[in-house]
């Protein structure tokens, strides 16, 4: 914390004197926008931190390998988009036309990807997306944008149903936030469950500013389903974690969508999180991946023992690895990078990745479970680091 205070003070001091040129050599300039203020500001660090870890890892090696012709260090040009998609559009226009960056990387969140899609296409800047997930992304014209996420709602629905079936679940209760990603999941989940013969005993949706879930949870307890599937974001995930324990929800499978993969959340609930299933497809020990342990160690070292967000930070790092490998193959020519991304197979911390159109065609959607305080990938089975287990009684 003191260190952070010190850096912050330095920034203030720095604005009074001109900051000198950062690198003597000729670095590769890469630009992106980050929500540092506004509604999504709390989600920003998961992304920015992963970019910074990647930058440090690459620069410590001497820089990016430019098509086998020597190395150049990475310099970031980053601006705050105020969580406003229109501001993100303006930032990418500025990065490309006025800052003259060599390459751009992804902004945060699905809506910002949609917003800047026309910009990168107009200027023919390849951009490997992260932190964006919606089936509507597939409607983006293939060309300059790709989406690394395996967490597309239709694939999630398929894998969720398969996992529930493998666990002999006959009935579920569903709760979901009205926001886009959560409700889009339900659109695909319900038909998939019906097809598999799993009954939905209870269903409720709630607005993002919900303050209490006791009513819903009391009804769920009465319905006594085999599994409770909560499609929630960090704030409402906390409500669930507190109030499900109060009400005494004891289903053997409890899924809490976004939250448990983020460090602060595990700090809040510790042993009570054991047995909770969440949306994540990575863990440092994941087999057949490239650089997982190195990424994990570098992240923890850089951020004083904090763990990466197993969902967003991971996906961001994957997109950076893809860019790095494409550059290593063809250099900085953007048209060649585009062709490389379209055709190459990449080795990432998610494992092998190849794009089909705009979409990651190899990595399957998956789930993780907190087991004895650690995050284990439990689904799909061929990637699992541990088998999914029944959620026991709440710890406290």
């Amino acid at each position: 914390m003191l260190k952070r205070l010190l850096t912050a003070s330095l920034v203030i001091v720095g604005m009074f004197g001109l900051l000198g040129p950062a690198h003597a050599a000729d670095p590769v300039k890469i630009g992106f926008s980050i929500p540092k203020t506004g509604l999504f500001a709390p989600a920003g660090p998961s992304q920015l931190n992963a970019y910074l870890v990647w930058q440090k890892m690459v620069n410590d090696k001497g820089g990016l390998d430019i098509g086998g012709k020597g190395r150049r260090k990475i310099e970031f040009v980053q601006y705050d988009d105020k969580s406003d998609p229109a501001q993100a559009v303006k930032i990418y226009e500025k990065l490309i036309t006025s800052d003259k960056v060599d390459l751009v990387m992804a902004p945060w969140g699905t809506q910002h990807h949609f917003a800047i899609a026309p910009v990168v296409e107009r200027h023919k800047f390849p951009l490997i997306g992260n932190t964006a997930a919606s089936v509507a992304l597939r409607k983006v014209k293939p060309g300059y944008l790709w989406f690394t996420t395996p967490m597309m709602p239709d694939n999630l629905a398929k894998e969720m149903t398969a996992m529930l079936k493998s666990r002999g679940v006959k009935s579920v209760a569903i709760m979901y936030n009205l926001l886009q990603f959560a409700s889009e999941n339900i659109q695909f989940l319900k038909p998939a469950l019906a097809k598999a013969g799993i009954t939905v005993k209870f269903e409720a949706k709630y607005p993002p500013d919900i303050k209490d879930m006791t009513g819903m949870l009391t009804k769920i307890k009465g319905a006594n389903p085999d599994a409770v599937l909560v499609h929630s974001y960090p704030g409402d995930s906390i409500l669930y974690m507190n109030q499900a324990r109060e009400v005494g929800i004891n289903a053997k499978t409890q899924y809490v969508m976004v939250g448990p993969a983020i460090g602060f959340f595990r700090g809040m609930f510790k042993s009570n999180l054991d047995g909770i299933v969440t949306m994540a497809a990575w863990t440092p020990g994941l087999k057949n991946t490239t650089g997982s342990q190195e990424f994990y160690n570098a992240y923890k070292k850089m951020f004083k023992g904090h763990e990466p967000d197993y969902l967003d930070s991971v996906e961001v790092f994957v997109s950076a690895q893809i860019l790095e490998q494409a550059i290593a193959k063809v250099g900085l020519n953007r048209e060649k990078i585009r062709q490389a991304v379209n055709t190459m197979t990449f080795d990432t911390i998610y494992g092998k990745i190849k794009f089909d159109g705009v979409q990651n065609s190899i990595t399957p959607a998956g789930f993780a479970q907190i087991q004895k305080g650690k995050i284990e990938v439990v689904w799909p089975k061929q990637r699992a680091t541990s088998a999914v287990v029944d959620k026991g009684a709440w710890a406290k």
Binding site: V11, I12, M15, K36, T37, G38, L39, Q78, Y79, D80, K82, D84, P85, A86, V89, K90, E93, K94, T97, S98, T110, Q111, F114, A115, I116, A117, P118, S134, A136, K139, V140, L178, L179, Q180, S183, E184, I186, Q187, K205, P207, P208
Partner: protein, 309 residues
């Protein structure tokens, strides 16, 4: 003010508009983007002044018009020609404002401030529920007109809103509105139809923001209730209008111009602390120029004139 200086002024204004319009042909994309933001907030702040500046009913929920316009527009996206859709969204929202305006405007003072905020939240949540019901919580807007076209459209709205404020301020209608601000009870007693005037002002102040909202989502490429009804937009409108100061057209022009250009200079150069600088500026404004830029300028100009004489 004599006739020749009046016509000179009109020629000047016409020339400025023409220059801004002409810029769409060759200015860089980034510059057009700044122009777009500038015109957008001019249109929004001028509309706000028609209701809040003139009547004293401070709306902290003006984003309700902006968001509703965007929503109406996105529902028609692909079904009607783009610019017809923009006009229709203004029309629909204007009619909506007429319907809800009467009961809402019975509430006064700080009660109205928070009520207007609540209204925006209410509409946002209704849209959210409706969209989630159709699993459409995020609607991409593909194939929007070019930035140059959107820039021109926004310029047209900014000019229209400024003209409207200018006209209202000088009309009998505007005089009625200002009598409401001074003392609504007294105005009513002497026979001014305050309820009707307020209602018309409410609807007038909603039409342009609705069209701005429609054009805005073509720029951001996406409609999401949370973005379209973002309370920050309401706060920004109020801030710019008050900093400009006054219930007349030049106020918002000054306030918006100052803040938008300042923000552009700041965020690119001091990304870490530009918001802090901006906040400090807002605070200083209240402390040192409580009647806004326009009020401060007029006070100083009249003082210097007096000194010269």
């Amino acid at each position: 003010m004599n006739n020749s200086s009046n016509s000179l002024r009109f020629i000047g204004i016409g020339a400025v508009i023409a220059i801004f319009g002409g810029l769409s042909g060759f200015a860089s994309e980034y510059m057009l983007g700044i122009g777009f933001t500038l015109f957008m907030y001019i249109a929004l702040a001028q509309s706000w002044v028609i209701l809040s500046g003139m009547t004293g009913y401070i709306s902290l929920g003006h984003v309700v018009f902006f968001g509703s316009g965007a929503y109406v527009f996105v529902l028609m996206w692909g079904l009607v020609p783009v610019w017809l859709g923009v006009a229709l969204s203004g029309l629909v929202v204007g009619i909506g404002a007429l319907i809800i305006g009467y009961p809402v405007l019975r509430v006064r003072g700080p009660y109205f401030v928070i009520l207007s905020f609540g209204l925006a939240e209410l509409v946002k949540n209704l849209v959210l529920i409706n969209e989630a019901r159709m699993y459409m919580s995020l609607r991409p807007v593909f194939g929007a007109p070019s930035l140059a076209q959107l820039y021109i459209a926004m310029l047209v709205l900014a000019v229209a809103a400024t003209g409207l404020t200018y006209w209202v301020r000088r009309s009998r209608f505007g005089a009625g509105l200002r009598s409401i601000r001074e003392d609504e009870w007294a105005a009513e007693t002497i026979g001014i139809p305050v309820a009707r005037l307020k209602l018309i002002a409410f609807a007038l102040s909603g039409i342009v923001p609705a069209m701005v909202g429609a054009i805005f989502i073509m720029r951001s490429g996406i409609f999401q209730p949370g973005d379209a009804f973002n309370p920050i937009v309401s706060f920004t409108i109020v801030t710019m209008a008050i900093i400009g100061g006054s219930d007349d057209a030049p106020g918002p022009l000054l306030g918006v111009g100052f803040l938008v250009i300042l923000q552009e200079l700041l965020w690119a150069n001091w990304p870490e602390i530009y918001m802090i600088i901006l906040g400090i500026l807002l605070i200083s404004f209240v402390l040192f120029a409580p009647s806004g830029i326009y009020g401060w300028l007029s006070a100083n100009i009249s003082r210097s004139k007096k000194n010269a004489a």
